[in-house]
Amino acid sequence: MNKILDIQDVTVSFDGFKALNDLNFSMEPGELRVIIGPNGAGKTTFLDVITGKVQPTTGRALFKGRNLRNLPEHKISRLGVGRKFQTPRVYLNLTPRENLELSYNRHKNLFATLLGKPSKGDREEIAQLLAIIGLAAKANIPASVLSHGEKQWLEIGMLVAQSPDLLLVDEPVAGMTDEETERTGQLLISLAETHSIIVIEHDMEFVRQIARQVTVLHQGSVLCEGTMDEVQNDPRVIEVYLGEPQEEVTA
């Protein structure tokens, strides 16, 4: 029972459409896993199930051995699951520092938030984090004026500030320049030393940079798993991505 994440036979259906179909997936602590798959393969729904936004129709999702069914999102988050969204979702009317403070807060119940103040140690850690994500100079201006790449970084920073055990990162480099992409990759690799991470990405260049283990999703189930080279040479993967005439018959 030392798997950090264990998804067992999970199916999610929306009005009969199966976004996830009998999915099985597991991950060891400390792993950096990349999930790829064509559009509509169920990648985002997969994250929705883990974070409690969507309840599995059948099957169960275990995090550190604990069943996540019926837990609301904020409880799952407090267990140690952090999520970064596809389009950056930071609080635009707050500054990067305030954004980080909210995520960093260790006591997230009502009265602790109302009455508590960040300690000196907390503020130092936040300052460090700001430096890591390269926003130290822009710490006190509203996040709405940050560039797209900076917002992506801020959201990754918020994720780290939460200090989760498992990071779920949905398309971290969408809309970034090559240089930013490269730096994001380095950041994720260094984070992987202390966290378990699942990255969903389309950018194959980037996947090659960071990936050790890759999982391919297709039509709501795992198509294959392996290293980047194995996956790329798998005939089924080629079929899914490039398409073959028979594909449509079987689908």
Partner: protein
Amino acid sequence: MVGAIALVFLVIVPLILPVSRLQILGRFLSLAIVALGIDLVWGYTGLLSLGHGIFFALGGYALAMNLSLQLPEGQIPEFFSLYGVEKLPWFWAPFNSFPFTLLAIFVIPAAIAGLLGYVVFRNRIRGVYFSILTQAALVVFFNLFNGQQKLINGTNGLKTASAELFGGQVGSPDVQFKLYMLTIVLLVGAYVLCRWLTGGRFGRLLVAIRDDEPRVRFSGYDPTAFKVLVFAVSGAIAGIAGALYTVQSGIVSPQYMDIAFSIEMVIWVAVGGRATLVGAVLGALLVNWARVLLSERFPEVWLFFQGALFLIVVTVLPDGIIGWFRSGGVNQVRSLLGMAPPVSTFPAVDLNEEIQREREIVQQKDS
């Protein structure tokens, strides 16, 4: 700053205005207290309540019930005899106690707001659904009070002018003056409370809930608890305001739960500038002042004016007067009139758009 303004209202204004005018100003200041409550839920947390009249009226009724009970032992308020009621309804009994009444003025509205908030927010009913439900709740409470002649004197409401308070008749100039002073003290108190709530990490969380509630959940917070608390606090503030308003206007009636009145509260905040506490107070005073000016002379124009105000605030001035000032509204007027913006350093620096943008940002942070 706030202290200075409060001092002006406490010391200088009473010297200038006669008590009759002071009474009107006192009423407006009570309304400014509700505006603070509305700003807390709408401006900061994004919950547009169209039902604050409920809490306002509940506070007023609580105090008015206590004042109606200032009778010799064994008697019950006069209006009961009109409907053939001989025994005081059970829920009136606790209001014999003044300390209980003082608590009830804000605890009952807070409890009802908290309960209503809980059953709505728990199910993640948000945005316009919440607004509609608060409005429906308002209609329901209106019906409840309006229809119960035998319990609470229905449409006629409860009158307070002839009761005793602070060692005099409520309607007397002396007591009205004391109430005016009390209103200012409580307004400052409400301001300080809201300032404290919105200033720290809690306030930033409210803004976060307003801007992206689902994201707040994924950060590990439970927005329901925060929203319920803020809504309850706002209800309590409205209750206090309602009690003050009642004794300064001499009556509380179901008309306080009129649909239009509750929406009007929102426009006060919108005119002043949502998510700025000063704006809420300023807006409440300005709009009510305009109402007195207009409806004294042209009663017909007032509704047109108010309607236009809603349209203008939403389409042209979304951040209200305060927001307009902060975003350089004065310069806009100057440029429309064909004047150059005032120059404080080298023109080349001042006209550089990048620098201007950053300067604005810094100014926003400072204010």
